[in-house]
């Protein structure tokens, strides 16, 4: 998948590759709903399902960018709706912080998206993915954290 991204860089056929880290109970179910309701959205996202947004180690996000993904998205349950009561509250502090830090390090705000999508928000899921894909297409491929666009092997 990553090799594919590299080869596509700077060609006319380039499409962004997005890493999506989705909470099992809300956003993943929301993605499922979008699919079963046959909603259209770009298929640029590779989904990693996690038990809770509280499981999202900031290293996941950093690793995504280091591997050369054009964007990383973290989706979780709305505050108050966490299956584990407060996992998303802990996640919110960490992820809000890394969102700011990524910008300080020169990663455009369009490349990282953090959002709440519930299991019933299939349409919202499709909308979020469409929007993010369009935004990344506008700013172009990610040159990599070392500005070389040669993602290392995992």
């Amino acid at each position: 998948m990553i090799e594919e991204t590299t080869e596509q860089t700077n060609t006319e056929t380039w499409k962004p590759t997005i890493l999506g880290i989705l909470c099992n109970w809300c956003s993943y179910a929301g993605a499922d709903l979008a699919g079963s309701s046959r909603m259209k959205h770009p298929a640029n996202m590779r989904i990693v399902r996690v038990p809770c947004s509280g499981r999202v180690n900031p290293l996941f996000i950093l690793k995504g960018f280091q591997m050369g993904f054009d964007g990383v998205m973290v989706l979780g349950c709305h505050p108050g709706d966490c299956h584990y009561a407060k996992g998303n509250y802990f996640a919110r502090r960490r992820i809000m912080l890394i969102r700011e830090l990524l910008q300080s390090m020169g990663i455009e705000p369009e490349r990282f998206h953090f959002e709440w999508v519930s299991a019933s928000e299939g349409a919202r899921f499709a909308e979020v993915v469409t929007e993010m894909t369009a935004n990344i297409e506008k700013i172009g491929p990610f040159c990599g954290v070392d500005c070389s666009r040669t993602p290392s092997a995992f």
């Binding site: 690793k63 280091q66 919110r92 953090f114 990599g144």
Partner: protein, 311 residues
């Protein structure tokens, strides 16, 4: 003068058997250097010194020595904040510590002294004198204003008095307001800047070893079961290590500057740490290492925290 008071206190503590060890600074390999010393006998207490070259953050040793035995530690204000973080995070029990606190006017930077036309090889002693650092060299005494002689982080330090201590020696200097400018440049420029900085990183992990916050038994950078960073000498891998480190220290870094001093490649690590802390202050209004009774900022939450949807 303060040297004598520290030595006297250390001697008393060791003689009474109250503590098993006193951690402090001792004379180093040259007069402008000091080295950590671990005093276990009352007669060795005279080894302890206090001067503008006492740079090491000695709190780094506490998780190794103070978990089971009671020790005394000599601490500058920034070190005392590291001690607070360690107590908050249950790495050392407060009752196992006797903290000898020392108000501090700033620690000298070798590079800054060189810039002030002082030959380090000629330095005989260093001491604070009001608003300047008095440097005695073989050629006589030179007075350098504190703002020209100390490390970058010491110039804008707002903690001049230890936040936790059992006994304090010395006078408290005035605090300087701590301000951090956001990173400048476009996104491309910032990315290129950090890629260039991290390209120099040789991953010797000196920054990690010097840091009291990095006490993990197994660092993510050393793990093989999940390979967060591989051994390839490329900027991207170093970026991963440095960013992981910055995130692990988020809301915990007290800004003592030891990582940057330990770095053999002169990577501006404090610029990164300060930027993280700037965001922590803006988002959560939290300053690390000030109060033993509060939870670490990322180990806690508030339902009213900043939200991605802005409410």
């Amino acid at each position: 003068m303060i040297d004598k008071q520290i030595q006297q206190k250390a001697k008393e503590l060791l003689e009474s058997g109250d503590v098993t060890m006193v951690i402090g600074w001792g004379a180093g390999s040259a007069p402008f250097k000091t080295t950590p010393v671990f005093v276990e006998k009352p007669e060795d207490a005279q080894k302890l010194v206090w001067n503008p070259a006492c740079t090491n953050n000695l709190a780094v040793y506490l998780p190794q020595v103070a978990k089971k035995a009671k020790v005394a530690i000599v601490a500058k204000p920034c070190d005392s904040r590291s001690i607070v973080t360690l107590i908050q995070e249950n790495q050392v029990p407060r009752e196992n510590l006797v903290i000898i606190g020392l108000p501090c006017s700033g620690i000298v930077d070798d590079a800054a002294l060189r810039k002030a036309d002082i030959k380090l090889a000629e330095v005989q002693s260093l001491e604070w004198e009001g608003d300047s650092v008095a440097v005695t060299t073989t050629g006589g005494k030179v007075s350098v204003p504190i703002s020209d002689a100390v490390r970058e982080g010491c110039k804008s330090c707002d903690t001049r008095v230890p936040v936790v201590s059992d006994v304090t020696f010395g006078e408290a200097p005035a605090a300087s307001p701590s301000t951090v400018e956001p990173m400048d440049g476009s996104f491309e420029e910032r990315r290129a800047y950090w890629a260039e900085q991290f390209d120099r990183c040789i991953r010797c992990y000196a920054c990690r070893q010097a840091c009291p916050g990095c006490y993990c038994a197994k660092c993510f950078a050393d793990r093989n079961d999940v390979k967060w960073t591989n051994k390839k000498a490329v900027a991207g891998e170093s970026w991963m290590f440095q960013m992981g480190r910055a995130m692990h220290l988020a809301g915990r870094c007290v800004g003592c500057g030891e990582c940057e001093r330990a770095c053999p490649m002169e990577i501006p690590l404090m610029k990164l740490n300060r930027e993280v802390q700037r965001h922590v202050t803006e988002l959560f209004d939290f300053t690390p290492g000030m109060d033993i009774d509060v939870s670490p900022v990322l180990g806690d939450f508030d339902p009213g925290d900043p939200d991605p949807n802005g409410h």
